[in-house]
Amino acid sequence: MRETTLTSSTSTLVHTTLPSTYQKETLGGRTEGGRSEGKGRIFSPVIGSTVLSRTVEPLEYYRRFLKENCRPDGRELGEFRTTTVNVGSIGTADGSSLVKLGNTTVICGIKAEFGAPPTDAPDKGYVVPNVDLSPLCSWRFRSGPPGEEAQVASQFIADVIENSQIIQKEDLCISSGKLAWVLYCDLICLNHDGNILDACTFALLAALKNVQLPEVTINEETALAEVNLKKKSYLNIRTHPVATSFAVFDDTLLIVDPTEEEEHLATGTLTVVMDEEGKLCCLHKPGTHFPSVSVLNM
């Protein structure tokens, strides 16, 4: 990313970085760091209007593009970023996938373990998702216990699994009331450039399709489980839910697959999860107001 340096008449050097971090910097004062010295610096005149706008007035800069029905990175309003998927790269996990949505990178690893089925549903196994947003992926996150965004994302994924019935929980049961499979799905965000929920859903789906569970038989005499590692079978995936996130600009405009910058500037976000039959599985709209239902119908 570029680093822009502006020199004012009182010759104070100001380092500015992308809007997502600029409220941490104080404009007009001396700040250390910003981006490292290794990257090239672009000296631009104070008058340079486009450069000035992006860092000082990002919303105006965006509005100029939105008026032409496109975005600064060249995409249309309804266009997704380039998506790449890589499945089965982690050998120690029972199922894994790596998804890149533009720059946003999420890796999902699934480990299957034995567990006792819950008492209120003795013939069902369960799936435990967990989204990990660490300081590795972005400036904004601090190390320590999972923050708000990570917990919301984890709950969202749990809701998607529950509502879309991606796998039948009865398939995970080995012996009713005694033994069932527990699938621990760990989603680690490696690079956060917006639209985490879509990437996580996609990574989860790809990893679940990649999971191979060994055959387990309960020995009648010893009542112990015997695992046959040579016979492995894939999970039965019933539906394929796909999440689509939108960012709302100025209460009227919906843009698809927002980057981190766009998420930050938007007045609200909306995520819709649908499966291949066109059935709505989940709708996630956190906070802010919507002027009317017509925006949703768009």
Binding site: M1, S36, G91, T105, I107, K111, S134, Y184, D186
Partner: protein, 245 residues
């Protein structure tokens, strides 16, 4: 022992390597555009990712700022699916804290911290798959990431592990060899000067054998340096082609 022969009579190890042979190393720099520096390395089946932010202003309490040097902050995190058995806590447990501390000590020795007083350099390492030699893979990945971020260092920091079986020193241990319970040595070396940044040894080893094991680790680290050097040069060449120089 489970009857697993770590070193056969012909001198082959479990995965078919010779005693002093390294696993295949593949590395890439600049994998993420968001961070200041990033790198990904695969040493055999061990996969590690390193991300560097900095030098930037101290986060949190200003009181921690050092007046003459930069603060190096390292965090090690191992994915829950990285090992055979699922790991309960990816970070915050004792092993992760210890690894983070080791990494910090290693890089404080190598980075020219005097050039950036009162600032902070963050190094985050994530292990995606652990198959032995995780410390070494983390150090190698972090070196590439620090270079990608343009932070000046004294020299490369190259690390490798070594063990001792049947009178022979083995270099670059895999998980099977580590789990067998023999002595393990982890060495982080600055290759040009031959200075040791960090040396750690577990289990019992007779002092007569120490020199042999240390020599094997040092030789392996220099081999790692050759590979990393090639990766950096290739990356710079690709970058200069894109810049049109």
């Amino acid at each position: 022992m489970a009857g697993l022969e770590l070193l056969s009579d012909q001198g082959y190890r479990v995965d078919g390597r010779r005693a002093g042979e390294l696993r295949k190393i593949q590395a890439r720099m600049g994998v993420f555009a968001q961070a200041d520096g990033s790198a990904y390395i695969e040493q055999g089946n061990t996969k590690a990712l390193a991300v560097v932010y900095g030098p930037h202003e101290i986060r949190g309490s200003r009181a921690r700022a050092l007046p003459d040097r930069a603060l190096v902050n390292c965090q090690y995190s191992s994915a829950t699916f990285s090992t055979g058995e699922r790991k309960r806590r990816p970070h915050g447990d004792r092993k992760s804290c210890e690894m983070g501390l080791h990494l910090r000590q290693t890089f404080e020795a190598a980075i020219l911290t005097q050039l950036h007083p009162r600032s902070q350099i963050d190094i985050y390492v994530q292990v995606l798959q652990a198959d032995g030699g995780t410390y070494a893979a983390c150090v190698n990945a972090a070196t590439l990431a620090v270079l990608d971020a343009g932070i000046p260092m004294r020299d490369f920091v190259c690390a490798c592990s070594a063990g001792f079986v049947d009178g022979t020193a083995l270099a670059d241990l895999s998980h099977v060899e580590e789990a067998a319970g023999g002595p393990q040595l982890a060495l982080a070396l600055l290759p040009a000067s031959g200075q040791i940044a960090l040396l750690e040894m577990d289990a019992r080893l007779h002092e007569d054998h120490l020199e042999q094991v240390l020599e094997a680790a040092a030789r392996a680290s220099r081999d790692v340096h050759t590979v990393l050097d090639r990766v950096v040069r290739q990356h710079v060449q690709e970058a200069s082609v894109l810049l049109g120089d």
